[in-house]
């Protein structure tokens, strides 16, 4: 568990910083990015799982997902979004996301999803 590198991507700063602290307390190694461009930069460094928002200023989550999967198919991507229509969920799975969670998600649910993503990887 201590070696799981998780990249959290969300433009809601307070949310992503707090979530990162909670994952750190649970033994994970989280890093954060606040928009799509930062996320792609961060994804060039070693990362096991990306927890990705969909609606962000500039590049949206789908675009990030597409680019990350094109450059590194091994990385597992979990969508965590406040914009959870069925169409978005279907598109996310089609683009290669391994799970789709809606805000506000329970920390145990997210931890379970991250562990499952690591097993797939």
């Amino acid at each position: 568990m201590t070696h799981i590198k998780v990249l959290l991507v969300d433009d809601e700063r307070r949310f992503v910083e707090t979530l990162a602290e909670r994952l750190r307390l649970r033994g994970l190694a989280p890093t954060v990015a606040f928009d799509g461009k930062e996320a792609l930069d961060a994804a060039t460094r070693p990362v096991d799982v990306i927890v990705l928002d969909l609606r962000m200023p500039g590049m949206d989550g789908f675009e990030v997902l597409r680019k990350v999967k094109a450059s590194n198919p091994q990385v597992q991507v979990i969508i965590l979004t406040g914009h959870g229509g069925d169409g978005e969920e279907e598109t996310a799975y089609r683009l290669g996301a391994c799970d789709f969670l809606r805000k506000p998600a329970d920390i145990d649910e997210l931890m379970h999803s991250i562990k499952t993503a690591c097993q797939i990887r």
């Binding site: 809601e12 307070r14 707090t18 307390l25 609606r55 962000m56 406040g82 506000p104 998600a105």
Partner: protein, 221 residues
Amino acid sequence: MSHTACMARLLASAVHDMRNILAVIRESAGLAQDITRFGDGSAASRKELEISLDEVRRQVVLAAQLAEGLEFMAQNGPPRGSLSQSGATGDKSNSCDLARVCRLFCRMAARQARAAQIRLECAENTEPVWMESRPMPVLHCLLDVLDSCVSVGGKVDLHLAATQQEGATGIAVRVSGGDNEALALSALTACLRPIQGMTCARLLSTGPGTFFLVLPTGEEG
């Protein structure tokens, strides 16, 4: 865009924001719980606990503001008569406080504005600015103004203020700053005409970067 489509977009934006607020509340409260469970009781730990609880309080205030916007939409958005059939009551009079409508618009459309990197602000009127108009056409006009800024790529600062100018009641619209300021000004200048088929809504240029939105009155829109 119909009033119904306008309402749907504002509601979707507000619901998205509400989910984000709930997510921050959940994580901040969760972190406070984690600190009591894993924390070492140090001053730093107590400080972090205090910050988390402050954040919960702040987000609850934001949620209450959004709830006010949602309630306002429920009372004023649907077509006339549809609420009375379900027994709900709302203010169906033909006047509204433009200052309040501007404030609620800024809250409801915050998510859409942020997505386009538009800094949407509203004047803090201390007094109501009453006008003979129903709120929905006003919200519709404001969404049209926001859309004009989004259509040029966003990235502007957009300021709204309910006011009176030369005897007319309306909304002063100011575009200032941002990467696309010039483009947004061009787009709004192109709107110096009746907006989206509304018979009485017009955007007038009042100076560099400023406009005055003359709104539909009474039963218009």
